[in-house]
């Protein structure tokens, strides 16, 4: 690459210009990585039908509850290895700003369906013996410094029969998640508190005998659709219809129900890239304008039309691609930190690939016309302009 010194010199002719264009491109691709990355990760989640865990929620929309009675009917479905019900239990610890998320469940069944969560068998036993017992996720325990044996008062959105919203639990165990990176959704459970459903249901005023959702573990991941359909068929046309999907589909649904992310992301990304195109195009044209004479000299010295063309095109290519690499890398670092609660583990490879493809295309399109102009330069005219 004997052209390298020439290209390098060309880039740093006006350092401010190159740096500013690079920064603008970096920000554009950072945004692209964050937005499109989230969008595509969710789409991948929705498309992932091979999974050994299904979520059963109410078909009537998000927070609608399902009857506990559904459980016995579901047991008859072929291919199910385990079923656990769970009911959301939110509140705060001492200060309303210390929000705590909880799950009231049939604890043994729950941990059987989530093998990624580890709890000591003695602690499960203790839960069975202690109605007001609670198992606390390791992240949550760390947050408040809770230990086994502590009594923790929680103020919840659920009112109990004595008319208050105050609940007290005895911590009998702490559970953790294995391999927190591979199943980000599961590790989100370690920031929750798990309590006994029976105690919770007897004590609460209202909605007794209902649960938020079921988690179902199946024997063969490839049969997820068939099993899901079978479960939904059990309750079709009843007052409490279900919708059963794989875990990743369900998590994606939580977001897409909220907002039409695809539309939003396309709009924003389109706008950003269009602006970048204008800025880069202007930069390259401007740069060529100043250096017409230089290219004339190069041609005089013997550079061919084609070589000059390539020299012009390579500059924006270098800037755009390096900015894209840095921007996508930064997005890849930020995204998991933001997205663990919704199962975003990393930037999808397809986003990286499409980002780079866009960078290359953008650079080529911006560079094409100026490069053509350089290629067609007549030496005499160009030199004469000086």
């Amino acid at each position: 690459m004997r052209y390298l010194p020439l290209i390098w010199a060309g880039l740093w002719r006006k350092p401010a210009r190159t740096v500013l264009t690079f920064l603008a491109a970096f920000l554009a691709f950072l945004l692209f990585g964050l937005l499109q990355g989230t969008n595509q990760a969710l789409a991948i989640g929705v498309a992932n039908v091979s999974s050994d865990r299904l979520w059963v929620v109410s078909r009537n929309g998000g927070r609608d509850n399902l009857p506990l009675a559904h459980l016995s009917k579901m047991r008859d479905v072929d291919g199910i290895v385990g079923i656990a019900h769970a009911t959301g239990f939110g509140g705060f610890y001492q200060d309303p700003r210390n929000t705590v998320s909880g799950t009231a469940a049939d604890v043994e069944a729950f941990f059987a369906v989530f093998p990624e969560l580890h709890v000591a068998p003695e602690q499960l036993d203790a839960m069975r013996r202690t109605a007001t017992g609670a198992l606390v996720g390791s992240t949550l325990a760390e947050r408040f410094g809770w230990q086994v044996g502590d009594r923790v008062p929680l103020t919840s959105e659920w009112t109990n029969r004595d008319g208050t919203n105050d609940w007290v639990f005895d911590i009998v165990g702490i559970f953790g998640a294995s391999n927190p990176n591979s199943a980000a959704m599961v590790s989100a459970f370690t920031s929750r508190i798990v309590t006994n459903y029976r105690y919770f249901d007897e004590a609460r005023a209202g909605r007794n005998g209902t649960v938020s959702q079921y988690f179902v573990r199946i024997a063969n991941p490839r049969r997820s659709v068939a099993v899901g359909d079978a479960i939904d068929a059990l309750f079709a046309n009843s007052a409490h219809e279900t919708r059963t999907e794989t875990e990743s589909q369900s998590v994606s649904n939580l977001i897409t129900e909220f907002v039409d992310l695809n539309f939003l992301v396309t709009g924003i990304v389109g706008s950003v890239l269009f602006t970048l195109f204008l800025v880069t195009g202007n930069t390259v044209t401007q740069s060529l304008q100043e250096r017409i004479g230089e290219f004339a000299v190069l041609k005089t010295v013997g550079y061919t039309d084609g070589q000059v063309f390539r020299l012009v095109v390579v500059e924006p290519l270098v800037v755009c691609v390096s900015a894209a690499l840095l921007g996508l890398f930064a997005a890849g670092q930020v995204l998991p930190a933001l997205g663990t609660s919704i199962g975003l583990v990393r930037l999808p490879p397809i986003t990286i690939a499409s980002g780079l493809a866009i960078a290359v295309t953008l650079a080529l399109v911006c560079g094409f016309l100026p490069a053509q102009r350089a290629r067609r330069l007549s030496i005499v005219d160009a030199l004469g302009r000086r």
Binding site: N60, G61, G62, R63, D64, E157, A205, T275, T285
Partner: protein
Amino acid sequence: MLKQSAAITMLNLRNLVRRPRASLVVIAGIAGVVGVLVSMLAMTVGLVRLTEDGAREDRAVVLSAGTNTELISYLDRSTVAAMTEAPGIRRATNGEPLVSPEVLINARVVEAGGGAESAVPFRGMTTPLGFEVHPEIELLEGRAFRQGVLEVIVGKGLRDRFRGLALGSQVELRGSLWTVVGVFASGNRLHESELIADASTLNSVVQSNGYQSLTVMLQGRDSFDELAQFLSVDRRLPVEAQREAAFYAESTVQLRTIVSFLAYVVGGIMALGATFGAINTLYSTIANRSVEIATLRAIGFRGSSVVVAVLIETLVLAAAGGLLGGVVAWALFNGYTVSTTNTGRPLVFNMAVSGQLLLVGVIWALVIGAVSGLFPAIRAARLPVASALRAT
């Protein structure tokens, strides 16, 4: 200094037309930022309008303590009975307290066009009490539902969007076949996207009892404090009351916060990028005009007036960009219908690009313009006159 600045500014502005490309880049870059920001914030404005319109000052909503959404709240019959004795509540002409206990669940409906499923709120009220507490509900077609029968009335906002909701048709909701006996409009647009039926019928269909909320007509605007005071003193009633406007505002606060946060973060990153792009463009513009600027300085114009002039020029471009972005956002999204699920409750609302939003957009544009114009302006003022005049 002022006269000098004004003179240069007029010169620059007249010359803007001669350099369309650079100007367009600055305008387009800023228009993009403002367009995206305003479009996203239009969602929050739309939400606020949805919840504010139709909320009455003399009405309060009561939920069980600790919840702020009807979907978790639970009020049993004894609580409802006790509430009818609370102070501050208006009575109907026959002496009955205007306390409307209401059930709220979701029902699955199918879109008329595509066949996609959607969940809509299905409210249970008692007749005629419910209608007395909600006088803004007006039956456009048909009649109200009767007690103990599978009859439902449909909000105007739903009738055309979903299958089977026209007057007289039968529709399956929550596993039972209901007859649509009426279509209603409501001053409160939130309710216009609901199905309403008899509360006890609804409860028996879903094998539940109790209520999710009480809507209470107050004697007057100030009676609310009386009611709130009574509830906080009487510990037997595990409920909380909120003014209707506050209740609705609270129910959308989570969604609004998230959208605003996203809008400002994305807008902020884009603004930074637009700033870099604008500075870049302006640097090259200044470089192109170095002879012109040096000439001005040579004939006596002071450096500071050049700075002011360049800044003003940039601000004009920025303002143009801000207006363009705002107008495009308005043209594309004002009145655009969005449906979203907000903490389990489906919401349908129109985005609104208000005058205030357009102003916010222009302010952002001006800030970007000021920041990006500063560096090129200073560079223009510091141009070495003699060498600039010598350059080609």
